[in-house]
């Protein structure tokens, strides 16, 4: 089977509202896929659905042949052991040092002796260039460094799937380039399948293999970066070229000016 993750006819919403309507997605093994779209269109929700933190209203999320939301707690935890996730702001454990943060999944899920844990932690920290920061606390790190530590923690157990939630948000250009490079190189070195949720066009188009565009709860477009750059779809053009008006309107839907001003 070529697809590691399949999202099949999925609908989701909070309460009676509807966020996603009959979405289909496939994430191929060994590839870096991106989910793009405007703020609040439900990109991160897709990651939470894949991780089984949310339950779809209808449809399925299948990870490595298993339907995620049909698993019991142990089954779900077994599925999650195949995943690593980088949260938007890192979500490092603030009471643990950098070293202990990366060692956390190893201590929780393995019985490895301390000397092997040490070797593995230093290996992972070296991969993200932060071996020298092992003794620091999360509060002493910059935003970019915190995200790299979180990345080291996400890959601590060599997961099959690595999910990135807005990995570039709020980073300076140098940190952004570092993270871009790490996502691609780690994916290829680990033979993992990566999913990135982002709205940064230039970075994503430079290294992603396949891209989905979400808008209005549906997939507005999909394809390789090359195909999407050539796309004539108005939404894709507006998004890629950062045009402020188009299918996504500048003004939020509102009653007429006359009504608001009581004229």
């Amino acid at each position: 089977m070529d697809e590691l993750i399949t999202i099949d006819d999925l609908s989701f919403g909070y309460g009676s509202s509807s966020l996603h309507k009959n979405i289909n997605m496939k994430f191929s093994r060994g590839k870096v896929s991106a989910i793009m779209g405007g703020s609040g269109c439900g990109k991160t929700t897709i990651l939470k659905l894949i991780a089984g933190q949310l339950i779809p209203k209808s449809g399925k999320v299948i990870v490595d042949g298993q339907v995620v939301h049909e698993q019991d707690r142990d089954g779900l935890y077994n599925v999650r052991r195949k995943m690593g996730m980088l949260f938007q702001h890192g979500a490092l454990f603030t009471d643990l040092s950098v070293y202990e943060n990366v060692a956390f999944p190893m201590r929780e899920h393995t019985n490895l002796p301390e000397n092997i844990i040490k070797d593995l932690v230093l290996l992972k920290l070296n991969a993200v260039g932060l071996r020298g920061a092992q003794k620091k606390m999360p509060s002493e790190l910059s935003g970019g460094m915190a995200r790299r530590v979180a990345l080291a923690r996400a890959i601590a157990l060599d997961p099959d799937i690595i999910m990135y939630d807005e990995p570039f948000a709020g980073l300076d250009p140098i940190s952004m380039a570092v993270i871009c490079d790490l996502i691609r190189s780690l994916n290829d070195a680990l033979g993992a399948t990566s999913i990135i949720v982002t709205h940064d066009v230039a970075e994503t188009f430079s290294f992603a293999d396949y891209i989905y565009f979400l808008a209005d709860g549906k997939i507005a477009a999909e394809g390789t970066p090359k195909q999407l750059l050539a796309s004539r779809l108005p939404f894709v053009r507006q998004f890629i070229h950062s045009e402020k008006d188009g299918p996504v309107p500048f003004h939020v839907e509102a009653p007429s000016y006359k009504v608001d001003l009581q004229l």
């Binding site: 933190q53 999650r80 702001h89 956390f104 999944p105 929780e108």
Partner: protein, 261 residues
Amino acid sequence: MNKILNFIEGIGSTFRRKMARLGAGTRLFFLVLIYSGDSFKRIHLTIREIYFTGVLSLIIIVVSAFFVGMVLGLQGYYTLEKYGSSEAIGVLVALALVRELGPVVTALLFAGRAGTAITAEIGLMKATEQLSAMEVMAVSPVARIIAPRFWAGMISMPILATIFSMVGILGGYFIAVLVIGVDEGSFWSQMQANVDFSNDIVDGAIKSIVFGFACTIIALFEGFDAPPTAEGVSRATTRTVVISSLAVLGLDFILTSFMFV
């Protein structure tokens, strides 16, 4: 007519919300019991939390206890003196502390010092997605975060209440014997003769265990249930103090009516 209906509906929905929260709190307690094995296996987590909730609360407990004991000594002496029985000051101080003030004041201070810290810490962990990160790593936050704090609270609270009573008695001794000059022999011997181990000390200990349970589970639940925003965490922290204090005073009345009446 509509207003009346809305009013009734309002009462109903508030009651339902409160019941749902009570149910969620009870569910959290059972989850804690289920995951307690995990937290005992990694006992260092519980010991670390005993340090934060218990050891770091010691100063406020000791200082408060000494003052409470001194006030009891003063007030007790002036009242007893009117009846010519100022030697009974030792019994009065000891019984007041062991039966009531020890467990109750310790629990109120515990809710204010340790309970708020627990709620704010867990609420902020939730707001910064640390609990979600743990879930995605296939680690239960109840096992790793909640259960060790629960047992730390359950262990710390009775010990703190005992220390409170002991230091309070020393405060009473300081005022009554050393300052006012009540006979030291009768201070201690009357206390020894009239404070019963199984009726007074054990009942006081039971109270402190019950209060420890109430304060800890309320603080944990409020943190775990807090909306992940600055406002949500601040409201949850306030609720911890308010609900814990009311729960302690309410439970104290119920327990006292069973134990000493």
